[in-house]
Structure formats: structure tokens, C-alpha cells
Amino acid sequence: MKKGLLTVAAVAALALVAGTNTPVVAADKTLKIELISKGETHQFWQAVKLGAETQAKKMNATIHFQGPATETMIDKQMEMLDAAIALKPDAIGYAALGTTQSVSHLQAANKAGIPVYMFDTAASCPGGVPALGPKSDCALGVAYTDSTGAGQLAADKMAALIGNAGKVLMVGHSQTNQTGIDRANGFINRIKAKYPRIKVTAVYSEGGDALKAQDLVAAALVSTPDLRGVYGTNEGVAIGAGQAFKAAGIRNGKIKLIGFDSGQQQIANIKSGLQTGAITQSPMGIGAKTVEALVNYVRSGTVPKNLIDTGFYYYDKKNIANPEIAGNLYN
């Protein structure tokens, strides 16, 4: 009851702030944006940073990008967030490590009149993602990869590769983690809905265990001699599937293999033809869309969508070197 009253009060206060202080800033002023990431050194975050920097330059803004050394340092990230708020930047971008701990900090940023947009991972804001927006006391929205859509893209690519007919194996990396579930079900449901002549079997190598994935695919190659394609939902599974192909002497795309993400081994396998292709998320897109949403909001009051899909790509031997792909891949 008390919490409810507080929320009402907070919303009212926020409406007051928004009413008296419409967020419109002249285009010739360089905006300062603080981006608090979940990490800094990993190549994934470097790509997020690059995307954010490129977008900021286009829109006359500067970014300050930082994150803790490891993804377990929640306290450290909270300190960074507090320090960023104290700097009174024009806007803050935040990738949630402490999904619950960070909520009160984000509310403090809002109270200080600093708009927040989340990226990669949302904090557990009151009301969840649907409640995000200018009226939320937590954040305007969140930008991340639509994993279901990515799984659907894998299904379309697989269907095209095998001529819309035949047996395929889907090797998932988790039946409990939402990203894993979405990548798997996006694929399976798309095949069932759109490609009636393709028969899909689903197995899971929990935790993306490459060795178990190898055993699973090796058994599938025996049980299904007319297998046409394998789809693996993360790097470990794709590596295991590739090794099973190698051991069974399946080369040059006799059976198609679509993986997920990148990494040294997968990239090498795609270049050598052992693996057909893979889906990659767009960490550069995550950075760019976050900055774009914040700048537009601060400068012209354009309210961003509370959920922005940051995009994903299918890549193979042919387009692996294209700048829009290469920037999103990591070793």
C-alpha cells in the first residue's frame, strides 16, 4: 500500500518535472552521454562502444563508455552508475548487471532529470518492459536483440539452403535461459508454420556444452542418414556440430550447418566450408540505437519505443568481410 502511494507520488513528481522542463536542447550543443556497460574489454562490448561512438559523432554528441572488469562486479557497476548521475550528463545509457539493485539508482537519475535508456539487458523496473517510457520513473526503454526473430531468420536461411524440404536437427543450448529458448523456438515454430516439407527434430546440449553437442550430432548423423541441415543456437553447440561433421567426414556443405554468434573456431569453420553460416547479433547496433534514442529524446522530445530490436544478421563465407558484418564478429 505504502509502495503504491510512493509510486503514485513518484509518477506525479516525474510528470511535474517533465511538464516544467521539456527536454528540448538546441542542435548546436554537443550532448554528453554516459554509457554504463556490463563490461569493457570483451570484444562484444568493444563493438557496442564502437557503434555508440559512431552514432554519437553523427548526431553531435560525445559518449563516455565504461563497465566493470567482470560481470560479477555488481557493486562496482552501481558505483559507476552513481558517479555518472553525479556528473549530470544529458542522458545515461545502462546495461543492467544488477537487475534489481540498479532500479533505485535509475530512479535517482530520473529524479535528477536525467533520461535513461537501457541496452542489452533490462533492469527489473516496476511494471517490466511494457511500463517503460517517459512516464516510468526508471527508464525510457531498452534496446536488445530479438532472439525469436533471429531464430526465424536462421529457419528461413536453412529452408533456402536445403530447397524447402528434408530433415533438419535443431541443437539448442538451453531449455531454461530465455535467450536460448527464443533462439530455438523461433527456429522450430517458423519451420512448422512456413515450411511444411521440412521435418525438424529438437535436442538440447544444456549450457552449450560443445562435447555433448558433438555426441548428439554424431548420433543424429547415424540415426538420420538423410539429414539435410543442423542449426545450433550458440557458439559451443556450433563448434560441437562442426567437429561431429569433421569426424564423420562431412565436408563442403553436404549437410548444411548454421550456427550462432562468432568466435575464432566458428569463423575458421565458415571460411573452410565445414560450416555454412551463422547468425550474429549486432552489438554495434545495440550501441548505435541506444545513443540515437537518447539524443532524439533530449534534443527534440521524440519519445523512443520502449523496446527497440537492435538487429541481427546472417553471415557466411561470402559476406563475412563486409563492414556491417565484420564489425559485429569477435574472435
Binding site: T201, V203, A219, V222, G236, I239
Partner: protein
């Protein structure tokens, strides 16, 4: 083997054959189960028994867990346990990968690094258990977590790829020294023979059984129990090191986040193979049969395309049956 069983067999004055069956009943039942399961899957889908599936599917998938289980057998016979072998597997493989790539080692150098690092990790367990007098369960639970963390730190959270620089790394497990027989399986077979000899023909083997039967009596008879225990855990580590080498060869890379949970599969193989968790009793051949039962089950259920969730249930049921059967036998023999 306990005196009770000896007495029982002698008092009946049965033939040598019946004495043998009595003594070996655990292993015989396990082997019989393996044959029954194999025949069942072959009847259901003959392709199951094809050499391609037996060598590339079943035997190859037994290599890593099988090698670990051989090491764990020694530890369990002493009445101890090693929970760290799964994450130690990851740590050794990452260290081997990093060392081989940084120092441009050849295949033999890489194998040696794996064996040494594995042995060192094992002896750390032994020292924690004997010098600090920690219960094996706690000591190896701690090293299990530590090894997991170190594997992630050493690898910088990324798989370590054995690129073209290491010629022949693939062949360690996947080459064919004997035609149509993967090297990984050959390594497992040779390791099993060596382990059997150590367990049955050497002082280390004798003391392994003695410590497991009665550590206090062994100590009172003048044996330096601590020293031999450290050796047993170190030996376990050596086999884990070898398993790590075979695994990286199978995968073409070292995966830092892989291995947690493998310790339970290795322990299950040992128990299914008739080695007692109470210590003092066990065989290497039983362990290999145990590991094979599990991989035959997993592979066979996949070939039959049974829904995967049921696979876990079936494997769980088999472990229960194996241990229950062992209990019943020992109660009849008057051991318990």
C-alpha cells in the same frame, strides 16, 4: 575382497568357476546388462550396431568420461571422492591450449603439459585432504569451484583454438593408428590396461585397497597412509589430464565453461561398474563397463529418437538399479 566372501566361498567348497562368478558377480552383472542393452538397441535399429556408430558414436563418446572415471576409481576405492575432476578437466584443457599456442609445442609437448598439470591439480587435492585433514568431499568441492574460476580467468572467457600451428593435434583422438579404430579409443584402452596393472600388481594398488578397507589398520601396520593418499589423488589427476588432452583434440579447442557435471558422470560410471562408494572394492574393467553402459544408453536412445528428457530419466534409473543391485548382492554375501 573381504574375508567374509572368502569364507563363504570356501565353506561351500564350490568349484573354481562358481567361486569366480561369486567374486566377480558385480562385474558379470554389469557386463551382462551392457550386452542386453546393446542387443536391444540393435534389434530396434540395426544401424546402431554399425561400426561407424560403435566407433565414432559410442566408443568416442566414452573416451573423456571413461578416462576421468578410471582416475576416480582409485580415489573411490580409498573411500574418498573427487568432485573436482569436471572443472579440473576444463582448467587443464585451457592451460594446455594456452601453453601449446604460446610456446609452439608439438603434440607430445602438449600431452606432457596436460599430464603434468593434471597431476599437480590432483596432488593439491591429496595435500588438502591429508595435510589439512579436510574431508575429501569438502576439499574437492572447494577445488572444484576454484578450478572453474581459474579456467574462466586463464582463458579470458574465450575458447582456446588449436590453430594450424599445432600439427596433428586433431589426430590425438581422431586419427587412426590402427585402421578404422579412432586413436582416442585406443588411448582409453591402453590407459585402462595400465590402470589395471597399477591397481592389481603394484604397491600403490595394494595400499589403495588397504586404505579403503581400513585406513587406521593400514596406518598402524606402518604404512605412510598420507603419502600414498596424495599419490592416489595425483594419479587421478594424471588421468584427468589425459582426458583433457583427448577432449581438446576432439573439439579442436579448449572450452573453459565445459566440464561442470562431468564429475558426476564419471562417479556414476564407477558406481555402475560395481566399485563401492564405501571403499575397499572396485575394478578398472568394471568402471569401463559402467562408462560404456552410460554412453550406449545415451547414444541408443538418441538413435531411437526418444525425447531427450526421457534419456535423463532412464540414465538415472540405471544408476539406481546398479547401486541397489550391488547392495542386495552384498547383503546376501553378508558384507553389509
Amino acid at each position: 575382497m573381504s574375508d567374509a566372501v572368502k569364507a563363504a566361498t570356501q565353506s561351500e567348497g564350490g568349484s573354481k568357476v562358481s567361486a569366480f562368478i561369486r567374486r566377480e558377480i558385480g562385474r558379470v552383472t554389469a557386463l551382462a546388462s551392457l550386452v542386453v542393452i546393446f542387443v536391444f538397441f540393435t534389434i530396434m535399429r540395426p544401424v546402431f550396431a554399425s561400426w561407424a556408430n560403435v566407433s565414432g558414436g559410442i566408443l568416442m563418446s566414452t573416451t573423456v568420461i571413461g578416462l576421468m572415471a578410471i582416475g576416480v576409481t582409485f580415489v573411490i576405492i580409498t573411500g574418498g571422492i573427487d568432485l573436482s575432476v569436471g572443472t579440473a578437466l576444463a582448467l587443464v584443457s585451457v592451460i594446455v591450449g594456452k601453453t601449446v599456442m604460446a610456446m609452439h609445442l608439438n603434440v607430445w609437448g602438449g600431452i606432457l603439459v596436460g599430464l603434468i598439470v593434471g597431476t599437480v591439480l590432483g596432488s593439491i587435492n591429496g595435500i588438502l585432504i591429508t595435510v589439512l585433514k579436510l574431508p575429501p568431499f569438502i576439499a574437492t568441492l572447494a577445488t572444484m569451484k576454484a578450478a572453474q574460476g581459474l579456467a574462466l580467468i586463464t582463458s579470458d572467457l574465450k575458447p582456446v583454438l588449436f590453430t594450424g600451428g599445432v600439427k596433428g593435434w586433431d589426430s590425438i583422438a581422431q586419427g587412426r593408428f590402427i585402421p578404422n579404430f579412432p586413436n582416442g579409443v585406443l588411448i582409453l584402452a591402453v590407459a585402462a590396461v595400465i590402470a589395471s596393472i597399477i591397481l592389481n600388481k603394484t604397491v600403490l594398488g595394494r595400499y589403495t585397497f588397504a586404505i579403503g578397507s581400513n585406513a587406521e589398520a593400514t596406518r598402524l601396520s606402518g604404512v605412510k597412509v598420507n603419502r600414498w593418499l596424495i599419490a592416489v589423488y595425483a594419479l587421478c589427476g594424471t588421468f584427468v589430464g589425459l582426458a583433457a588432452v583427448v577432449m581438446t583434440s576432439r573439439l579442436g579447442s579448449a572450452q573453459p565453461d565445459l566440464g561442470l557435471g562431468y564429475e558426476l558422470e564419471a562417479i556414476a560410471a564407477v558406481i555402475i561398474g560395481g566399485t563401492s562408494l564405501l571403499g575397499g572394492k572396485g575394478t578398472i574393467s568394471g568402471t569401463i563397463i559402467g562408462a560404456l553402459i552410460m554412453s550406449v544408453l545415451i547414444n541408443g536412445l538418441r538413435i531411437l529418437e526418444l525425447q531427450q528428457e526421457w534419456q535423463y530419466v532412464v540414465v538415472g534409473a540405471v544408476i539406481l538399479l546398479a547401486v541397489y543391485g550391488d547392495n542386495v548382492r552384498r547383503r546376501r554375501a553378508g558384507e553389509v
